[in-house]
């Protein structure tokens, strides 16, 4: 039985990686073309304020050095073949290899996103469960109202609100940045980093609960109205025990899947939250790369975020494969 399952997962992963490869090629190609056709002039972005001191001959030299004088397709293949060898190029604004910047930024963002993801998942699930168990009471109405309000709240606005209340008025948390300003890198403690992480993480998770909570609520209401819960009640089960035995498993599976599938929203939210809090993560780097025309960095970030979202969805699919007996054992019969 195990063997069959492993083989199925093997085939599943193989198909998924083929799909991922094609997806990445398409994304690279489209974003490359988009940037090529955007009003951003890479040379101008590179030179910046010194533009007046650079003559047309020098401009041409720079273009030749970067290969910008070649046809678009040749440029794409140059960039693509470099990418295949693991070379993402050099960032224009940071003057450092793109891979290095992304890996450093990714770590910061990852901590932020994972914290927000876990918090919103757990709190949202609990809220949904309470709401469904107490359906049509004031608790349920309050949770629903809260979720609808939050679902329509822009992340950046909430971030600003958080900053005003908790950083400026109350002074509980630092205003922005990932580490304290004016402290040497080797003197920064983990406590400092956590202190800077709390506000952006809370902002992201407060907005993120709405989806999971409302979904869990509806799902649990359906489960509680199902025939098997009726039968469980007929057998004398009730209250929390009934939820624990028959509700939790049937509701948790779709909720976990939803939470993994929400990776893309998480990434989108992180971009805005990081910008508001000047938190040195991927999101902030993306905004800067876009605004200042840092083409290699922007393309690197596009690939990185595509991978991130794809992996989130892949995990969501895999979880169903592994946890849901209807899919797991159904395939073997």
């Amino acid at each position: 039985m195990r063997k069959g399952l492993n083989r199925h997962i093997g085939i599943f992963l193989l198909l998924k990686s083929v799909r991922m490869a094609t997806l990445l090629v398409a994304i690279c190609f489209i974003s490359f073309l988009l940037i090529k056709n955007s009003p951003i002039d890479p040379i101008q972005a590179y030179i910046g304020a010194d533009l007046l001191k650079v003559g047309p001959e020098q401009r041409e030299k720079i273009a030749e050095y970067w290969g910008l004088d070649q046809p678009v397709m040749v440029q794409f293949f140059n960039w693509g073949s470099a990418l295949l060898t693991g070379d993402l190029g050099t960032s224009m604004i940071y003057r450092r290899p793109v891979a290095e910047i992304i890996s450093e930024r990714f770590l910061n963002s990852f901590v932020l996103m994972i914290t927000a993801w876990l918090l919103s998942g757990i709190i949202g699930f609990a809220m949904g469960v309470i709401s469904a168990m107490k359906k049509d009471t004031w608790v349920d109405k309050f949770i629903k109202w809260y979720c609808y309000t939050l679902a329509s709240t822009p992340t950046f606005w909430l971030g600003l609100l958080m900053l005003i209340v908790f950083a400026v008025w109350l002074g509980w948390f630092p205003i922005g940045l990932g580490v304290p300003a004016g402290v040497l890198a080797e003197d920064v403690t983990i406590a400092d980093r956590i202190n800077h992480l709390i506000l952006p993480a809370i902002t992201l998770s407060v907005v993120g609960v709405a989806n999971v909570a409302l979904h869990t609520r509806q799902k649990l209401i359906d489960v509680l109205a199902s025939d098997y819960v009726l039968f469980a009640r007929a057998r004398g089960e009730y209250g929390f025990g009934l939820f624990w035995r028959h509700g939790l498993r049937n509701v948790a599976l779709p909720a976990i899947t939803l939470q993994f599938a929400a990776f893309s929203e998480l990434f989108g939210g992180a971009v805005l939250a990081e910008q508001v809090f000047s938190y040195p993560g991927l999101g902030q780097a993306t905004v800067e790369a876009g605004l200042r025309g840092d083409v290699p960095l922007l393309l690197g970030l596009v690939i990185c975020s595509a991978l991130f979202v794809f992996i989130g969805n892949l995990i969501a699919d895999l979880i169903y494969y592994v946890l849901d007996p209807r899919i797991r054992e159904g395939r073997m019969i």
Partner: protein
């Protein structure tokens, strides 16, 4: 003494139609039924006649928008909500109709074991599976892996291991092949012979006749007749109520004559006898008041003309 008595039970649902206008659906109207230990009472009637709700009312698991009146007595004492909660699954057990009533993500063995109220659950479950010819690997299966017959035996097992005195089987046989149906019916007969009281809710009169002691005929949410099973023969001349007779004659192996008209909708019940609009013997009296249930020839009937 009867183990279960249902007296004058009515169930209605409130529904908001337009704005705040309320509409009442009288799904069950002054229903009377009694259940004796060691006996099978078959409750037969067309679909939509409120049979399943009777089962839910006895167990106290009606939906929250239902309102109920009348009394249900268990072993002589009234079944209050608190008592229903304490007794259900322990002394009164339900055998539901399909595999949908099992938790899809829980192994069936575990689900049967939850029904065991005292003693070694694992042992009781293994014993009952053996008794119903369910192989030992069935306990590790999920509901979707069961065949129709296996699902039925599993559902019956949940009632068996609970050692309940009253078993209410709600349409336990639809969609099964004749061999499995026969097997199911024998299982219920055996339960009754061991001292259980069984209420078999079904629309399949033929099957019910094979094993039941008494038949209660259901029409538009009430019992129109309770008759010993022996009264169902010939042209139905021993039956008491016009509807029972018509139902009997409508069976394919009898005259195969349909009854004209259809059951009244729960929101628009006639003021008099519920069967009056379709009855051939209708008189003015029938239209004025609902007839009471009365004893007649070792059975009961709700008709003023019955003899």
């Amino acid at each position: 003494m009867s183990i279960l008595e249902v007296e004058d039970l009515s169930i209605s649902f409130k529904q908001y139609t337009r704005g705040l206008k309320q509409k009442h659906h009288h799904v069950i109207t002054s229903l009377n039924v009694t259940l004796e230990a060691g006996e099978i009472l078959a409750v037969v009637g067309a679909s939509g006649s409120g049979k399943s709700l009777l089962a839910h009312a006895i167990l106290g698991i009606l939906p929250s928008n239902a309102s109920m009146s009348g009394t249900i007595k268990y072993a002589g004492d009234e079944l209050t909500a608190a008592r229903q909660m304490a007794l259900r699954g322990k002394e009164i057990a339900l055998v539901p109709q399909s595999v949908n009533y099992l938790d899809p993500l829980m192994r069936v063995g575990a689900q049967v074991r939850t029904s065991v109220k005292q003693g070694d659950a694992a042992l009781a479950q293994r014993k009952v599976f053996e008794r119903y010819h369910l192989q030992s690997d069935v306990e590790n299966m999920y509901p979707f892996q069961l065949s129709g017959g296996m699902a039925r035996r599993t559902l019956l097992s949940t009632a068996m291991v609970s050692e309940a005195n009253v078993i209410i089987a709600d349409e336990p046989t639809p969609g099964l092949d004749p061999v499995v149906i026969l097997e199911a019916l024998h299982d219920f007969r055996e339960l009754a012979d061991n001292g259980c009281a069984v209420m078999l809710i079904t629309h399949d009169i033929e099957s019910a006749l094979k094993i039941a002691d008494k038949i209660a005929v259901f029409y538009a949410g009430t019992t129109v007749e309770v008759a010993p099973v022996d009264d169902f023969f010939g042209n139905g001349e021993a039956l008491r109520h016009p509807y029972s007779k018509a139902l009997w004659r409508a069976l394919p192996q009898n005259d195969f004559v349909p009854i004209r008209g259809s059951q009244p909708h729960p929101s628009a019940l006639p003021a008099g006898c519920l069967f009056e609009p379709r009855c051939e013997k209708v008189t003015l009296e029938c239209r004025q008041a609902r007839p009471e249930m009365r004893n007649l020839r070792n059975g009961m009937v709700r008709c003023i003309h019955a003899t």
